[in-house]
Subunit: 191 residues, 2 copies
DNA sequence: CTGATTCATTGACTTAAGTTAAGAAACAGG
DNA sequence: CCTGTTTCTTAACTTAAGTCAATGAATCAG
């Protein structure tokens, strides 16, 4: 099951025999059942995840309502804001499907980085890319209507619409389930 | 004028004599006149900025309209998404006031980090903090109404309302200038 | 299999944002 | 000081999102 990690790393760096062996030695691949909370509000976080298979979401509880703010699927990294910080998390992280993921801890990271500095460089570069994507997403949010955001989602992450309940998509788009339902109707009619 | 940089760094790390001298040697403080474009759409970016004095904004051009997505003021870092990446910028960065800023380049960063690794660690930590803030801001955007966002802005960055044109605040909040004007009226009436 | 819950849709209604247009106020440059 | 521009506000109107309530479909647990 480490194959996916190996494939992923290979896209960006040359995975040496030593690194491959090292990764094989460490037992950091875990499975989580659908419904598992990887993190809860108020708790601290000492784990980050690299999704090999499955789907995960972040959500806040606001006025008793669940507000979904992010979905993570195959080949995405889930790094809680509170990760390694001894700070209370403001949100939950829930497995929407059975999940297979690589699990990282600050200790494990330090260990790997010391032996394989190229992994740290890669991680930094990926972090920068994630940051740039956040900035883009925020800009998109400020500049577009809910309908445009939904159309954009269809283009960029069509898989989500198949595997995630619609009311969670709605709050991910920042609207109510009723509004999303009407937007879908409007789009179908327009075609 | 390096004093501000020194004061800022001191908040987070011990600034040794050597580091202080080194910073004094390098001439990386620059001034920019109000109206200067620090970066334009389509251009690449080899500079990042640390604002010592003044105010700067990011904006996109969409359908001929300027869409302001971020403001930066004293003690904030402006790191274009395209910084050091040889990629074309999707947005502009403009000085809204006369600006005094520390200017960083990838070369200068490498140089400093080699001599003073603690600066690199600090930078990484600050990067993480900025990332967490982005995530928060995006979540806030999805969960709140324009009016709530405006009220929140009054609390968190009251200075902006004094130094920045209102129509730029409006697009920063993701709404039209007319809407913001009405929101303000509503709030005043409610008091 | 069945009753209960969750989910998506729809309708009626309210509220607020977008749009267009116009005018007043503030500001900048010559 | 005057003039043209930018900025902000207001109004009338349109459009769409929020809210509340009801219904049917799908899903889940016992």
């Amino acid at each position: 099951m480490e194959k996916e990690i190996y494939d992923y790393l290979s896209k960006y760096i040359h995975v040496t025999k030593e690194l491959e062996e090292e990764l094989g030695k460490i037992d950091f691949i875990k499975r989580f059942r659908k419904g598992t909370m990887l993190l809860e509000e108020g708790k601290t976080s000492n784990e980050c995840y690299f999704i090999i298979k499955g789907c995960v979401r972040d959500f806040y509880l606001k006025d008793g309502e669940e507000k979904t703010t992010e979905f993570y699927t195959e080949e995405q990294a889930v790094v809680p804001s509170a990760y390694g910080k001894n700070a209370a998390s403001e949100y939950y992280i829930e497995c929407l499907e059975d999940v297979i993921a690589g699990v990282g801890t600050p200790q494990l990271e330090t260990e790997i980085y010391q032996k394989f500095p190229q992994v740290e460089s890669l991680n930094r570069a990926l972090g920068d890319a994630i940051m740039a994507k956040f900035q883009d997403t925020l800009a998109e949010f400020k500049m577009t209507s809910p309908e445009e955001r939904y159309l954009n989602l269809i283009k960029t992450r069509p898989d989500l619409l198949q595997r995630v309940p619609q009311h969670q998509i709605a709050s991910f788009l920042g609207i109510t389930p009723e509004s999303l339902s009407r937007i879908r109707k409007r789009i179908i009619k327009a075609k």
